[in-house]
Amino acid sequence: MRSYWFGDIDNGVCTPAQGDEDRVLERCDTIRVKVDTGFVPVSVDEACDCGFFADREEYLARLRSVTIRDARRKIVAAFSEGDAELIQMVRMLDEIDEVVNLLTEKAVEWYLVRNPGFSRKYKSMSAKRMVGVMKKERGPLGRICAEIDGLSDQRSSLMQDVSKRTDAVMPNCSALVGGLVAARLMERAGGLSVLAGLPASTIQVLGAEGALFSHLRSGSPPPKHGIIFQHRRVHNAPRNVRGKVSRAVAGKLAIAAKIDYYRGELDPAFIERAQDRIDVVGEKE
C-alpha cells in the first residue's frame, strides 16, 4: 500500500483520506514514506484516475491549501514556545544598548561645540548623568537628549522583562548564571530546543565564534569563553583558573538547559550541587 496526503492506493484500489483539512493533516503527520526502497512519488494522474480530483489544477489547489495550512500550524507551534519572543526581546535589548551609546557619543560632541569651555576630564561623569546634564540644553540637543534618556529608561525596564521571562522559560539556566546571560546564550543558540541539544564545549564558546573560527583556521589560541564570560563567576575568577571555571559553568549549563527544555521546572537540588561544583573549581590553586 502506498500512502499519500490525499489517501491510500493499494493495487489500484483507492481509499481517500477522510475528514476536513485538519484531519487530513493529522493523517499526514503519521505517514512516513519509505524513500529508499521502491519509492513511488505522488502521481497526479493516478490521483485523478482514482476520482479524487477532476484535474491537475484542482489537485494543486487542494494540495496548496493543505500544505499552507500545515505550514501555518507549524509556525504557530514554533512561535508559541515562549523562547521565540524572548529571543526578540534580547536582540532588541542589545540593540537599544548600542543605539543609546552611539547617540550619547554624538550628543556629547554636539554639547562640546555649544559649550567650548566644557570638558569631561576629571569629572567622572557617567554617560547617564551626562545625558541628564545635556537634557537641560535648550533647543534640539535638549529635546534629543530627553529622547535618549527615555530610551535608556525603556532599556532598564526591558531588561527586567527579559529576566522575568527567562526565569519562566529557562528557570535552571537562569538560576545558574542569571537571566540576562541565560537569555543571551539561548538567543545565540537560536532557541531553547537548540541550546538543550548543544554540547557543553559549544556552550562554553557561544558568542566567541570569531575567535573560534580563527583558531580552527589558523591555529591561534582557542577561546576560553564566549557569552558566559559575562557571568560574574567567570569574569571574576583569577586568570589562571578562568578557563577551568568557564568549562565547569558550561558543563552545568548544558545540563540545566536539558532540564529546562525537557522538564521545564526549577530543580533546586541540582542548582545547589552545580553552584558548589563551580565554586570548588574556582577556589583551586
Partner: protein, 199 residues
Amino acid sequence: MKLIRGTIVSVGEGGVYGERMLNGCRVWDPHRSKLPAAIINGAPLDLTADMRVLYLGAANGTTVSHVADYVETVYAVEFAPRPMQDLIEVARRRPNLVPIMGDANRPEVYGCFVEQVDMIYQDVAQPNQADILRKNLPFLKDGGIAVLMLKARSVDVRKKSEEVAEETCTALREMGLTIVWSGTLDPFHRDHTCMICTK
C-alpha cells in the same frame, strides 16, 4: 531563459521583494540570487514551462518566485518558521507554488506531498549538503537535473572552497549522478560552487 539586453528576467507578477522591472518583466539579480549568477558564469541551465521542480531551502521565496515564473510547478521546502511566513505569502499569489514546511534532511516526512520532478534545486546552508541531495534523489525522474548550490563555508570552515567542492563532486558521482557542469559563483557569491548533475 529570458534575457532583456543581457539582463536575466522572468515573467510574472512583480513587487515580491521590491525587484526592479524591465519592460514589464521582473529583473532577476545575480547578486541576490544564485541561479542567475550560475547562468551568467556559464552554467548550461534552462528552466522551461513544462518542468516540475523540487526546491530545497526555499527561504523567503525570493529565488523561488522567479523559478515559479518559468516552470509548471514548484514544490518549495523550507524548515525555519520565520522565512516560511514570507514564503506562504509568496505562494498565496502563485498557484503553481506549493510551500512545504519540512526538513530537507527528512524527505520521508514531506514525501507524501511531492510528485516526481524534472529538477531538484538545492540551496541549503547545512554541513551535509551532498547527503541531503542523495536523500531527495528518489523524487527525481531518470534523466532529471539536480542543481546543487554548494556553500563551502557551511560544510567545513577549515577547508578551502575548492577542496570541499572536490569532495562533494566525488560524493555526487558515488550516488550515481553525472556532473555536467561545475563552477564558482564569483564574483556574485563568495565561497559558493554550483554543480549541475543528471541522474
